[in-house]
């Protein structure tokens, strides 16, 4: 069992609420849910849509085919009706012009009859629930949560039932069995990961699609005792986070490409003052403003080479909600251990897509601060940049009696004082760069899916994990012998498995969500391996599993 319901219309027509309610009902009814959204950069109007896929088995991607379309206007219907499955159902209000295969319902009429046009969507919801034979108790529960006002709640419940009364259950649905999953999007998972890791300071400047991290952090700020701050600009943001980290708290900031661009100088500062910090770039298509509400993996190389000058850093691409949670928490440990900036690379697709996942296991998170013991240092004996074999110097935070904690953006000596001599420069560069050796040990291999001795090796990274995983399954099911590598840790770069599988496979295809194949370039640079083919998508819409399959077949044929 595996269905996709499409909800489309203009911004401001309540699509998001409807989609949220329906997704939650499906989750609470025990299905696996995967809800993607497609919205324009505007507050009202335009053509937006949500696509809710649900199934009785694990799912990892949106699909092109639709089983049900609920359209709030004519345009959106026309744009997507081609994707409707043979037995699919297209629904719209009577006001929408007639169309082949379209069922027109008196949604508005019923709502008006009930005395409030705004319950329009609840009529539609009732209809859909009924068609799929879904649980009305769950629906009522959700409506209660959303509509705090008792009369509005009652009205919506009535609308629900009026809608249901218009039809019969007609689509075969097996009862959902997965009762314990959470439904969460990537940004919230990231925020939870940060909080679990003990992040006490999060600041940022609003920027789609990163803003919801700021929103979530703010919402729990008091409860979790986290300083959450909307600041004057992104230049300030990273400098502030570094100040907070220097003073001893775990600190993080985030933005999308344009805001991340404004953090470049401070990124470099993190490098030389060796102050840990976690920064997330939730990518959207560029350049500049680009497509603010769509998705892309276009900042990979920009992020990899962020900041002027040379210093060790780590770059981790988040692959799905679960990964977002655990990797974000891990990022703080690595940042602290090596006293470096760790950059998380996410994207709008991962940020906004809501997926059912096993509840995150907070007991798996450990907090490793790697702070030095102030007691160990007699007065005046502490040197912030002490030269060590690992390149990591003992880190104290201000407050140690008798010892100053001095950080400086100029090249400095062990104590933290400006020293422009050639000898000192070499010593300190070498010290900082030695951290790269330890860091290389931390790198986790890419995820692998599919057949063991592959003829075809697929390589991708980040949020393509889900679609790729499904595509890989489908390809293998169709008789190809395919294995997929999905990179999470991007830098340092992991080469071992890539070399091994490349040696086995006849063909290597890289799949990316950008126009230039940025990861493929990195692969050439680090592994001297060139892809045989590159599948690149850069229209702002995420690869779906079936699209990958189709595109692959085309290049292979």
């Amino acid at each position: 069992m595996d269905y996709s319901i499409f909800i489309g219309g203009a911004a401001g027509q309540g699509l998001d609420t409807l989609s949220h309610i329906l997704s939650k009902i499906l989750q609470r009814s025990g299905f696996y849910v995967y809800t993607t959204s497609d919205y324009l950069s505007r507050v009202r109007g335009g053509q937006n849509f949500f696509q809710i896929r649900f199934a009785d088995h694990l799912i990892h991607s949106a699909t092109s085919r639709l089983d049900c379309i609920y359209a709030l206007n004519h345009e959106v219907l026309l744009q997507h009706i081609d994707r409707l499955q043979e037995n699919g159902l297209a629904l719209a209000d009577e006001e929408v012009p007639a169309l082949d295969r379209l069922t027109r319902l008196p949604l508005r009429a019923i709502a008006e009859e009930l005395g409030n046009v705004r319950v329009f969507n609840s009529v539609g919801l009732g209809y859909i629930l009924k068609v799929f034979g879904l649980d009305f108790d769950r629906a009522q529960e959700m409506l209660q949560q959303i509509f705090v006002d008792e009369t509005m709640f009652e009205l919506n419940v009535q609308a629900l039932h009026k809608g249901a009364a218009l039809t019969e259950s007609s689509v075969p649905v097996v009862p959902g069995k997965q009762r314990k999953h959470i439904l969460i999007n990537g940004n919230n998972a990231t925020a939870l990961g940060a909080i679990a890791a003990g992040c006490r300071y999060y600041c940022g400047y609003p920027m789609t699609p990163s803003s919801s991290i700021l929103v979530f952090m703010d919402a729990v700020s008091q409860e979790m005792e986290i300083v959450v701050d909307q600041v004057e600009d992104e230049v300030a943001a990273l400098n502030m986070a570094l100040g907070a980290s220097y003073a001893g708290v775990r600190a993080m900031t985030g933005s999308s490409g344009g805001g991340f661009a404004l953090m470049q100088e401070a990124m470099s500062l993190a490098g030389i003052i060796e102050t840990p910090v976690v920064v997330i770039n939730v990518q959207r298509p560029g350049p500049a403003t680009g497509l603010p509400t769509y998705t892309e993996q276009g900042d990979l190389r920009f992020v990899l080479h962020a900041g002027h000058g040379e210093f060790p850093k780590m770059v981790i691409a988040l692959r799905d909600g679960e990964d977002a949670f655990y990797q974000t928490a891990r990022a703080f440990n690595i940042a602290d251990k090596y006293q470096i900036p760790v950059i998380l690379l996410s994207d709008q697709y991962l940020a906004d897509t809501e997926v059912t996942l096993p509840p995150f296991d907070f007991s798996k998170i450990s907090i490793e601060r790697h702070l030095a013991d102030a007691q160990a240092y007699g007065p005046g004996t502490y040197y912030r940049y002490q030269v060590t074999e690992s390149g990591v110097s003992p880190r104290l935070i201000p407050g140690a009696r008798g010892n100053s904690v001095i950080v400086d953006s100029d090249e400095h000596d062990e104590k933290g004082r400006i020293d422009e001599s050639a000898d000192n420069r070499r010593t300190q560069v070498d010290k900082r760069m030695r951290k790269a050796q330890g860091l290389a040990q931390e790198v986790q291999p890419p995820w692998e899916f599919g057949a063991d001795a592959p003829e075809l090796l697929l390589v991708c990274w980040g949020s393509l994990a889900g679609p790729m995983r499904e595509a890989c399954d489908q390809l293998n099911a169709q008789g190809l012998v395919v294995r997929a590598l999905v990179y999470g840790d991007i830098w340092p770069f992991h080469t071992e498995r890539l070399h091994a599988l490349h040696a086995q496979a006849k063909k290597l295809v890289v799949v990316e969500q950008n126009a230039t194949g940025q990861f493929e370039g990195l692969m050439r640079q680090e592994a001297l391996i060139r892809a045989d083919e590159k599948l690149l998508k850069y229209d702002g819409r995420q690869w779906k599993s079936d699209e990958i399959v189709a595109a692959l077949k085309e290049v292979l044929s």
Partner: protein, 282 residues
């Protein structure tokens, strides 16, 4: 006096106002008896910003223009620290102009000491935001075209609770102002007139000396209009001293949880404390 020790050598020129300011900071900190482990000095980049190099204390020397954001981050992470942002006029009013406005609006509890030599010293004498219109420099060979920035008036208009003007040549007054700024609960701006003997041949020690005039010790520091008039006075007479001093809620204390018990930086971290947040997603 063994705390806040000064280095013997500095890279400052003989005759520069910076060493005088350094002495004043040191004395203010010592007279207040602030334990050095509780104090952090934050600087940007410039001649003024070399200050932390030359005093033995906790310090964060960051980027040109960015001393305030770093200082704010530090303060929010540990409200028990006394945080001083100390930098030049170019740093604070030029590159860092947006942070300056924002720090005032926040009324964050830090002391802000700006060495105002009306020039970019370290980079060899280009105009700063406070350089007079028409003044000639290496990059303004035709004279500065822009009108000067008025930091004190700006701060007052934007709601600053503590606004003062000092002069590196009036040590005693400067120490007094600094002590008050350090003790003030909220954002405290001290704009310090400072001669740069190499690059600013107009606003020399003598130039300032002739003009500065300490405000009457007993003037009403809660009188905004008086303070505003004094802030805008810039001519044959330049009034110095604490122009305005009125406390209001600080940004930090508005977080509620931030004060009390231990500073944030010292609180225990336990991942499982965050687990209840998962409830929101069932």
């Amino acid at each position: 006096m063994t705390v806040y020790q000064l280095t013997e050598e500095t890279a400052w020129c003989p005759g520069c106002g910076n060493p005088m300011i350094r002495r004043a900071v040191q004395q203010a900190l010592n007279e207040l008896g602030l334990p050095p482990e509780q104090v952090v000095m934050v600087a940007g980049i410039g001649q003024a910003a070399k200050m932390p190099q030359y005093i033995e204390m906790n310090s964060f020397t960051g980027l040109h223009g960015r001393s305030l954001p770093a200082a704010i981050g530090i303060k929010l992470a540990n409200t028990e620290l006394t945080v001083i942002a100390q930098s030049g006029d170019g740093d604070n009013y030029g590159e860092g102009g947006n942070h300056f406005i924002s720090a005032i609006r926040r009324n964050i509890d830090i002391a802000h000491f700006v060495h105002d030599n009306q020039v970019y010293g370290l980079t060899k004498g280009q105009a700063s935001p406070t350089t007079a219109q028409g003044q000639i420099t290496s990059v303004q060979s035709g004279g500065v075209k822009a009108m000067p920035f008025h930091p004190l008036a700006m701060a007052l208009v934007t709601g600053a609770g503590f606004v003062a003007r000092g002069f590196s040549g009036d040590h005693e007054q400067l120490v007094t102002i600094m002590k008050a700024a350090l003790q003030f609960k909220g954002y405290a701006l001290v704009d310090i007139l400072q001669p740069c003997v190499v690059w600013n041949k107009i606003n020399t020690f003598q130039w300032y000396k002739k003009r500065v005039q300490p405000l009457d010790d007993n003037h009403d520091t809660s009188n905004w209009d008086f303070a505003f008039a004094a802030a805008r006075q810039w001519g044959e007479v330049i009034p110095t001293g604490i122009l305005y001093q009125v406390e209001k809620p600080t940004y930090d204390e508005q977080y509620g949880f931030i004060t009390g018990s231990a500073p944030l930086a010292a609180r225990e971290l336990a991942p499982q404390q965050a687990e209840p947040l998962l409830q929101r997603f069932y």
